[in-house]
Amino acid sequence: MNLPTVAPIQASPLAPIAPTVALPAPAATAGVPSFASLLTGGIDAVNARALDADKAVHDFILGEQVPVHQVTYALEQARLSMELMMQVRSRLLEGYQQLMNMQL
């Protein structure tokens, strides 16, 4: 009596779940800085301004030959760039909160 041979169990090739379509690359293409690097770059610039103002005040106090207007100018620039950063921050926070309150 011939028993039919049981076919060996073998894994059938599963269809890959993940789509084979190549996902589009993130928006950060070459040459265009990403949003995060823009932000950190801006913060670094603000920090540099603040350090400049700090150094100007330091030099002035130590009696270097620094005209007064350079000190006040550095301070003012630091203040303005700081204000710009705060404005950017509040706009960003507003956008974030609107996203978080979105009804899904």
Binding site: P67, H69, Q70, Y73, E76, Q77, L80, E83, L84, Q87, S90, R91, E94
Partner: protein, 143 residues
Amino acid sequence: MQAMEISRSGLDVEWRRMEIIAQNLANIGSSRAADGTLYRELHLVSGPRTGFAGYLKSGTAAASDLSGVAVYGIEAGDAPPRLAHEPGSPQADADGNVAYPAIDTAGQMTLMMKTERAYEANIVALNAARQMYAKALEIGRRS
């Protein structure tokens, strides 16, 4: 903040000019410098600053190249010295004359007032630019 930078360069130059005027006025009675030469009235030569980009573009200063003002140099005037007859002075020459620098006091005073006004004008312009910048930050502000 281009406008503020330009005003700042103006402040720098006027400050320097004021230093030169102060130096001239302080040396009005200097008959001789330490190396024996006569002090000469100094003049500050300033002009529009030419950016590197301007040179690259045209080779000369472009009219649209707004980069403020710069000190080109400090030059001594060539006016003949003012001779004063002071036979008792140890620095008198054979004729009993002592050479003093020919500094035009009235001219220096006039220049000083102009410098002061120019400095103030630059500060006013800088403040105006600063206020415009600060106002621009209010665009789209919620509260």
